[in-house]
Each structure stands twice: as C-alpha cells, then as structure tokens.
C-alpha cells in the first residue's frame, strides 16, 4: 500500500566536501500538498530540493520519493523518476536558442513519440494554462522576467508531473508578476493534484498559498507547521523571519573576533587618554 507521504526525508545529511550543509533532516510531504521550505540565503534549502530531484546524493540518510529511495537509484531509474517530475528554476532556465513553443514542446518531444499536431495542441494548452497563448513564436530574450517564468512553468508541467519542485519561484519579480506566479502555482497544484515542494524566502506570498511550511536554518529544520500555526508561532527565529526584522536570533553583523577599533588601527582606549 502506498504511503500517505509522497516525499519522506529520513535522517538526511549532506556536505559539500568538508562543509556540512544539511544535518539530520527529517521531513514528510503528504500526497497532493503544496509545501514550502523557507530559510535565509545559504541555509541549505536549494540543496534540499536538489536531493529530492536526485541531482545530489546525501552522504547519510534516505530520500524516499513515492516509495523509492532516490539516493540508491541507478542512472536509468533516476531518469525514470525525473520523467514524473517537473522543476521550475530560479530564473526559469529557458533554452535561449529555442522559441517559446519549442521550449514547452521540449520535454514532450524528448519523452514521447506523439505526432507533431498533437504536440502542438498540448503546447498551446499548456501555454493557455499559464495565460500566455499567442506567445509561442517569441524567443526567450523577447519575454519579460515574469513571462519567462510562466513559460518555464508551462514547460515544467508539460508532461503532467506527479511532483513539482519550485526553486525560488518569486525571485526578482515585480509584485504583479509575483502574484500571477503564486496564483498559477496554487491553481495548477489544485488542478493537477500534484505534490509540490517550494523553496522560497518570500514569506507573505508563500504563506497565502501553501499547505505546510518547514523552516530551515544552519542546515537543520527548526520549525514547521501550517501557515496559521506559523503566523502564531512564538519562536524568536520564526518571528524574526516572518516579520523581516534586521536583528534578532540571526544577527545583523557578520561574526568577527576583532573589534572595529582594532580594524581601524585606533589605539585601545585612545579616546580616554
């Protein structure tokens, strides 16, 4: 019987060389839910996403996706896993040498043997779903940032994935485009019934659309809960993060040993002498 959880990370640790990025992560994502992983820059949240997509393998622990351990897959199994997965990259990662049409058609043409008229219909439908029908002849360079992100979203859902991964989907967008992308992510997730993981540091927009939130800091999960729980969460770290305060448990200043006076070569106690 399949587990209720589409993704389960059990005791996962990962390091780049000597530098530990994630330590003993335990995380469960139920089927059909949209879950956000939040944390500051460099907290290891993108690494978490790459462990789920199989781009990285953990040094320790299990990454179970739909009952299979991604960390133990052969290349062929990994590619089969990825065929059921869509990923939206931070800046879209559209193929700059292909038109919008060919970008969305790319996964369809690579993985199916559908006749070209069917490919065309599918592409138009996907573009319609993100509100960009009519742009199929444009090149990526002719699109605004928000439109490029939407085309990338259409490409990611081209094969109706069972799992969607979003890597910082709101970065660098104006408020309107950001709202559009958030709405699309929510609508597509509800319509396709996919399980989805979104890595982000945009607190307010994300809390409006996700079912559950995990907070990551210094390679560990420090809090989790539904958006309502998180808003009411008394933990000082989450409070600082959600409120966007400059100082708090996460310090404003970079930790240094020396004093400012020492770095400026001011003699100690000089002002009082």
């Amino acid at each position: 019987m399949p587990s209720d959880f589409f993704i389960e990370l059990r005791d996962v640790s990962f390091a780049y060389g000597e530098r530990p990025v994630l330590q003993n992560i335990n995380l469960r994502i139920p089927r059909g839910q949209l879950v956000a992983i939040m944390g500051g820059s460099g907290s290891g949240k993108t690494t978490l996403l790459r462990l789920i997509s199989g781009q990285f393998r953990p040094q320790h622990g299990e990454v179970i996706v739909d009952g299979h351990d991604v960390a133990k897959m052969t290349n062929a199994q990994l590619f089969a896993h990825r065929r059921r997965m869509g990923m939206l990259f931070q800046f879209g990662a559209l193929f700059t040498d292909l038109s919008v049409f060919d970008n969305v058609a790319f996964p369809i043409r690579e993985h199916t043997r559908l006749p070209e008229n069917l490919v065309r219909d599918l592409v138009i439908m996907k573009l319609n779903a993100v509100g960009l029908r009519g742009t199929q002849d444009l090149m990526p360079a002719q699109l605004s940032g928000g439109m490029a992100r939407r085309v990338a979203l259409a490409r990611a859902i081209a094969l109706d994935p069972a799992l969607m991964l979003y890597d910082e989907p709101f970065t660098g967008l104006d408020p309107i485009s950001l709202g559009v992308i958030a709405l699309l992510i929510k609508k597509l997730n509800d319509a396709l019934g996919t399980s989805a993981v979104m890595v982000t540091h945009d607190v307010h927009k994300s809390l409006d659309i996700v079912d559950h939130v995990y907070f990551v800091a210094n390679g560990k999960i420090i809090a989790d809960g539904t958006p309502d729980q998180v808003r009411a969460e008394p933990s000082p770290w989450v409070h600082q993060f959600v409120m966007g305060e400059a100082d708090g448990p996460v310090h404003f200043a970079y930790p240094v040993e020396s004093t400012l006076a020492h770095d400026l070569n001011i003699p100690q106690g000089g002002a009082h002498a």
Binding site: M87, F89, E110
Partner: protein, 261 residues
C-alpha cells in the same frame, strides 16, 4: 630552509599533476560522449543543425582567408621560384604547401577561434543559466542532447572546411600567378597535377584535418561543459579553448607530419 629549492619543484609537480588530471578528465569526457552518441546519430537533424552553426557559418572566414593565403603564396612563391628560374613550378608549390600543411592547420586554427570558442561560450552560458541542469532534471542527458551533436558536427565540418580552404587557396595562387603575373595557365595546372599525389598529399591532408577537428571540438565542448558557471568562468574557458586548441593543433601537426611525409 630548503624551501627556495623545493618550492619550484613542488610547483612543477603541481602543474604536472594538474595536466595529467585534465588529460584524464578530457579522456573520460570523450568516453561519455561516445557512450551517449546513439541518440544524436539516430536523430541526425540535431547534428545537421550544429553543422550549420559550426560549419556553414564559418564559410565566409574560411573562404576569404583561403583566398588570401593562396594569393600570398602565389606572390612569395613566384618571387622565390623565379630566382632559380623555376617559376613554372608555382602551381605545384602552392598546391603542396596548402594540401599538406597550410590548409589543415590554418583552417583548424580559424575553426578553433570561430566555432570552437562559440561552442565553449554557448555550453558554458547554458551551464551558468541552469539550462543544462534544467535539461538533466527533465530526464534529458545534456551530454547526449547538447554536447554530442556539437562534437560530431565539428568532426564533420572540419575536413570539409579544410578542403574548401585548399580549393580557395589554389584559386588564389591562380589569380596571382596566372591572371596577375601572367604565368602560363596550362603549366600552372599541369605542374600541379604531376606533383600532387592523391594518397600522400590529398588524403593525408584530410586525415590531418579530421584529427584536428576531433581535437578542437573535444577541447571546445569540454571547456564549456567544465566551465565555472560565472561570467568570468565562461570568459576564461573561451580563452582556454582558443589557446589550448592552437597549441594542440601545432603539436599534433608536427607529430602527424613526422609520421606521414
């Protein structure tokens, strides 16, 4: 105390190890390309597209350079040969120097700087903008889809470009020798026909350009694929492609010439 003595040795050792590691990396990359070439050879339109970018778009520079090199050969060759009273041999001289050396080598140098650098920059930028990652996440192997078609396109384009360079060079020599200076047209062509051997000159020259094509394209795709994914990284990878290709072309040319002629 011994550091002034050991430091240069250490540096030499470091450089040698680096060079060996790079050679190992590039060999493994070649193996990966070979193992992943099936798809692009079956879907040959992928290769054709790259032949257009690497080969067809290089035509202008190859044609113009070939023509001028041939014209210079005609002028210099005539001046020198005339001193020994053998200006009649101009056709043979132009053809032999082009077919054996200048054609393959210069065409490969031009190819490295025009198409090789473009391949490195394109693949490097695809890496920097996460396009290769996106492809791999879509369960499409970037080596099979991006690298292998460019590699085979380079191998196909290079001998054809070199042959075209030779033809244009011979025509350039004809323009200067026969049209400008007024040598006998029949002598120009018949001297050429008598002294050029199909196997030892034409075929050996083509083999050279095939080897150069493999080397230049492999260096170009490797540098792009392994580039540090930043603006500075892609720029230095592009430079590296042109510099390494030039040195490798000249070194391989010496080795091949020693074996062939």
């Amino acid at each position: 105390m011994l550091e002034p003595l050991t430091a240069p040795l250490g540096k030499l050792g470091h450089l040698t190890l680096n060079a060996i590691a790079r050679l190992g990396g590039i060999s493994r990359f070649l193996l990966a390309i070979m193992l992943n070439s099936g798809q692009c050879l079956l879907r040959f339109s992928l290769v054709i597209r790259e032949v257009y970018f690497a080969g067809v778009l290089s035509l202008i520079i190859i044609i113009v350079s070939g023509l001028f090199v041939g014209m210079v050969l005609g002028l210099q060759g005539y001046n020198t040969l005339e001193r020994f009273g053998s200006a009649d041999a101009l056709g043979a001289m132009v053809a032999l120097s082009l077919l054996r050396e200048l054609g393959p080598v210069l065409a490969a140098l031009l190819f490295a700087s025009r198409s090789g650098s473009a391949m490195t920059a394109e693949i490097g930028l695809m890496k920097a903008t996460e396009q290769l990652d996106a492809m791999s996440v879509m369960a499409v192997n970037p080596i099979a889809r991006v690298v292998a078609p460019r590699f085979w396109a380079g191998i196909i384009s290079m001998p054809i470009l070199a042959a075209l360079f030779n033809v244009m060079g011979i025509f350039g020599g004809y323009l200067v020798g026969v049209v400008m200076i007024g040598l006998d047209e029949g002598t120009y062509w018949s001297q050429m026909r008598n002294s050029v051997d199909l196997h030892s000159d034409v075929v050996n020259g083509l083999i050279k350009s095939l080897v150069f094509g493999i080397a230049v394209t492999l260096i170009a795709v490797y540098e792009g694929y392994e580039a540090t994914p930043t603006a500075a990284g892609v720029s230095s990878a592009t430079t590296q492609t042109v510099v390494t290709s030039a040195l490798v072309i000249l070194a391989l040319d010496f080795i091949l010439t020693a074996f062939m002629f």
